[in-house]
């Protein structure tokens, strides 16, 4: 997968977490996710379809999901409530939708977000396409943005 397909997701994430939510956040370099089930406990998932296909997964620990969605919603949460899960879905929706702006060579439709919670689960990633993992550190805990996107033919 070409770097130019990853950068829009990285930039959309930085825009969301740092510029909009005001969270001190730093990212490491994107890298291959070797074990594609190696995600944290709470993941928001969006499917991409159209001229290309793929998926975007935003993955948090429980505590980080609660804190970050609290910042997003403008209120505090004490547990992984339905509103927190709803907020996780909305965050991944914003990242995927915003990234489309810089993927102008494709016409892409994004799915309704889904959210998974658990200690061990497996995402159905597109077959044969590597998953690129972008790890983030923040004052509210670590999280990652994971992208698998088919190259243009």
């Amino acid at each position: 997968m070409k770097a130019k397909y990853i950068n829009p997701f990285l930039e959309a994430s930085i825009n969301l977490f740092r510029d909009y939510l005001g969270i001190k956040v730093t990212n490491q370099s994107p890298r291959l996710l070797k074990d594609t089930s190696d995600l944290q406990e709470v993941s928001g998932i969006i499917g991409l379809a159209g001229d290309t296909s793929g998926a975007v997964v935003l993955s948090f620990s429980r505590d980080t999901a609660i804190s970050i969605v609290g910042r997003f919603a403008g209120r505090s949460f004490n547990a992984l409530t339905n509103d927190v899960l709803d907020g996780v879905g909305e965050l991944v929706n914003i990242i995927a939708g915003n990234a489309k702006k810089d993927l102008s060579e494709f016409r892409i439709a994004i799915s309704i977000p889904g959210v998974v919670v658990g200690d061990k689960y497996r995402i159905r990633w597109p077959d044969g396409i590597p998953v690129i993992n972008i790890p983030f550190e923040s004052e509210l805990g670590g999280f990652s943005v994971n992208v698998s996107l088919k190259d243009a033919s």
Partner: protein
């Protein structure tokens, strides 16, 4: 004025709601719907004066909703502001062609959202 907020995310609906209430819109004038189908029903039982509509929703998405609501004579000119994460140019063009009045890309700060909505609202009545 009666405002219909259409978004499948309860968190987003609350964020929009808070912006409107902060700027003087009566809470009792705010109506919510989780998808386009619910929104169509709500708009047939009461006259809506401003729509805030997400794009990606189950059952009937915001784009299809706009086309349907614009086909109803009583909503031919009602302001519709689409508030969506969809940032591709072709999305903006298609939404405008379908009849949205203004297009706003999320995430958007409350004060900036209000600037976008202000031309269409006046506390207590339509602009």
């Amino acid at each position: 004025m009666r405002v219909l907020i259409v978004d499948d995310s309860a968190v987003m609906r609350r964020i929009h709601r808070n912006v409107l209430i902060e700027h003087g819109i009566n809470e009792s004038d705010l109506v919510e719907a989780e998808d386009g189908q619910q929104a169509l029903k709500a708009a047939t039982v009461q006259q809506i004066e401003l729509f805030l509509v997400d794009w990606n929703m189950p059952k009937l998405d915001g784009f299809q909703f706009v086309k349907k609501i614009r086909s109803l004579p009583q909503y031919a000119k009602t302001p519709i502001v689409m508030i969506t994460s969809e940032a591709a140019k072709y999305n903006v063009v298609e939404a405008i062609q379908a009849g949205v009045t203004n297009y706003v890309v999320k995430p958007i700060r409350g004060d900036v959202l209000w600037q976008k909505l202000q031309p269409y609202v006046k506390p207590g009545g339509p602009a």
